[in-house]
Assembly symmetry: C2
Homo-oligomer: 389 residues x 2
């Protein structure tokens, strides 16, 4: 029993991640595998850490990619910072806040939540009122991948300082596409994924921990519940000692190295502007078509746009049409938005004029097929926003 | 601040993994990334599961690669099968048994161990005597990667049946190089890694769980402590429902697909024989040089050979010499064998006559440089064993 070799089709990736992977990242991924303790690989690791620090906006020593996807990064931050019985407060306004609360519960924490409607950012005043009761760790989702909402971190960082709590942040869909600035805000633990605005294949989760977080880690009363994700052990491999912990995913780290090189070659400010400009253009185009973007303009996450599926339109059929007719992937709704919305990603290499243009044109085609006639000229609206004649 | 692109050197990988990766596996790794819910990718997942079942020797529904390295597979099996307060018995005769015990403790188990000297297999009679007291889970290391010892699973499977316990097995360095035969033995949970005898880059951990193990999982009194590794959730993505859990490491799964294809194209019996023959030839050659192999002949793990460093020889200098002069990686000792032994891997694509020949010749060169004169003709001894004139 055997199968033919894998031959994946050519796709344009505009879902909630993975995003389109640049050719040089795929080439780096397939560079010859070397040992995880090879001196040549140890240099690659050091360079990856250095570049990650720049993208996170931090000087944190403990900055590196975890050997798992973004959810492994979430679990890493939680299980390392939370001891059984710790009080944890989580802001919940989408799937990933819900998940954070669940992961913290499983880590033995007493978890409370502050909720906001899905599609809205977390309200700092609501959060502060509850946080004042005193918590060990506060958790906030910077970029809610299920709704396309960006939450301003500054007020939450202030609340963490006021209440002497650690601040843990989900930056899965912001890192590399929206400023994270861990040190400027004073974030204590931040995790992300490689397959979003870094445009590397999925499989690694960059994280960074502040010195305050490391102190808590070093003075734990109980061992970290996860051995695989125990940063006390892992730091000895990524740090000076090079003590074997687990076999690092060598080729994935090559790919991340190349992806980070491309991010820094472009320049962070330029990259953030590119994400903003193309997200704005996409929004203008979608609204010109008569579609509704449920997230208020000031809270939109540039790398991910939430679009309400119009009444009478089968949202899954539209996605199928885009995939089959155009090889274009967009995402469906998640959680309570399942069946009701689309999520359109403009992340990393997928945040280009080509992507915006194809998406608007293909979506109009798919909506026509569903009997929904787009109202205005989406492409003209997008072109105007991008300053094209 | 930026760095030049990654340019890893060409190595011959004969350490404890990663092993040499075939060109077609590296090509598959760099195939275009598609979405983790793309129909084209879902077929790849199904084919990977089907091929993994064949290599594990099982019909288990719950068979798939976890999104982490081998240690993530260990933790997956433990945290899913163990509830806080469960009694777990672990056979310890090397680093990986020690690690299993630690992971089980962190999962909340009451752990006891049965020890055997490092370099010797676990004694089933010793194990049975303790196991009779009654345990929920018994853990055995099939292929101890720190010592190169292969343990016959049949008597331990019998003990598990006699005592009505689940049997959890580390097959990291056996899967694809030595028969595992999960169903024939009646193993309940087995984990492995991709970077050993499957000759795929590191980053995934194939696992399989029996129906008995699934029943325990389904009837847990408490949630699995790890959300990322919770098989109740993950099975819904890899199984029929395709419910999103985490973003699968798409490209790594392409690579595993190709690696498994190559395993099955060669044929399992042929592959096991190739590992045995080349390990025997390597052992003859090493012994002809006057080197000591601490593991008794009947207990040697073909994919990994433990070699004692002779008195007065700096084992790290020998490894450095091999790497610098020949681009050849072998492993050092781990745990209590650190500084005292080498571990030479003949895994997957690295189990060839070319590898054995280069290793013996290069090792003789390195030993000469250390003032140790190899006794006999290693290459002649290896050639004779391989039936070469």
């Amino acid at each position: 029993m055997t199968f033919p070799p894998v031959a994946p089709p050519s796709r344009v990736l505009m879902g909630p991640g993975p995003s389109d992977v640049p050719p040089s990242v795929l080439r780096a991924l397939s560079a010859p595998t070397v040992g995880h303790l090879d001196p040549a690989f140890l240099s690659v690791m050091d360079e990856v850490r250095e570049m990650l620090r720049t993208v996170f906006g931090t000087a944190n020593e403990l900055t590196m990619p975890m050997s798992g996807t973004g959810s492994a990064g979430m679990e890493t931050c939680v299980v390392n910072l939370v001891e059984p019985g710790d009080r944890v407060l989580v802001g919940v306004h989408g799937v990933f806040g819900t998940r954070l609360a669940e992961v913290a519960r499983r880590a033995g924490a007493e978890v409370e939540t502050v909720e906001a409607p899905w599609g809205r950012p977390l309200d700092p005043d609501d959060f502060r009122r509850v946080a004042k009761a005193g918590y060990d760790v506060l958790c906030v989702v910077h970029a809610e991948t299920s709704t396309g909402v960006l939450t301003d971190l500054a007020p939450f960082a202030a609340i963490a300082r006021e209440t002497d709590a650690l601040l843990l942040v989900d930056a899965v869909t912001s890192l590399g596409g929206v400023p994270v600035e861990a040190d400027r805000h004073g974030l204590d633990a931040v995790y992300s994924g490689t397959q979003k605005c870094l445009s590397c294949p999925p499989g690694l989760s960059p994280i960074t921990l502040s010195d305050r977080a490391r102190q808590k880690l070093a003075s734990r009363r109980s061992p970290v519940r996860s051995w695989y994700l125990d940063l006390n052990l892992i730091a000895r491999y990524w740090g000076g000692e090079r003590a074997y912990h687990h076999t690092a995913p060598v080729n994935m780290i090559y790919a991340l190295h190349e992806a980070l090189r491309l991010v820094l070659d472009e320049g962070l400010e330029q990259r953030y502007r590119r994400h903003r400009d193309h997200a704005d253009a996409l929004a203008r185009g979608l609204e010109a078509m008569g579609l509704v973007l449920p997230v208020p303009e000031g809270s939109r996450l540039p790398p991910l746009t939430l679009v309400q599926a119009p009444d009478g339109v089968d949202e899954a059929a539209v996605r199928r049409h885009l995939l089959e007719q155009f090889g274009l992937e967009i995402g469906g709704g998640l959680g309570e938005l399942k069946g009701k919305a689309w999520r359109i990603g403009l992340m990393g290499s997928s945040a280009t004029t080509r992507h915006v243009t194809l998406c608007l044109a293909a979506l109009a085609d798919a909506l026509h097929a569903q009997g929904f006639t787009p109202r205005g000229d989406a492409l003209a609206a997008a072109r105007a926003r991008l300053g094209r004649k």
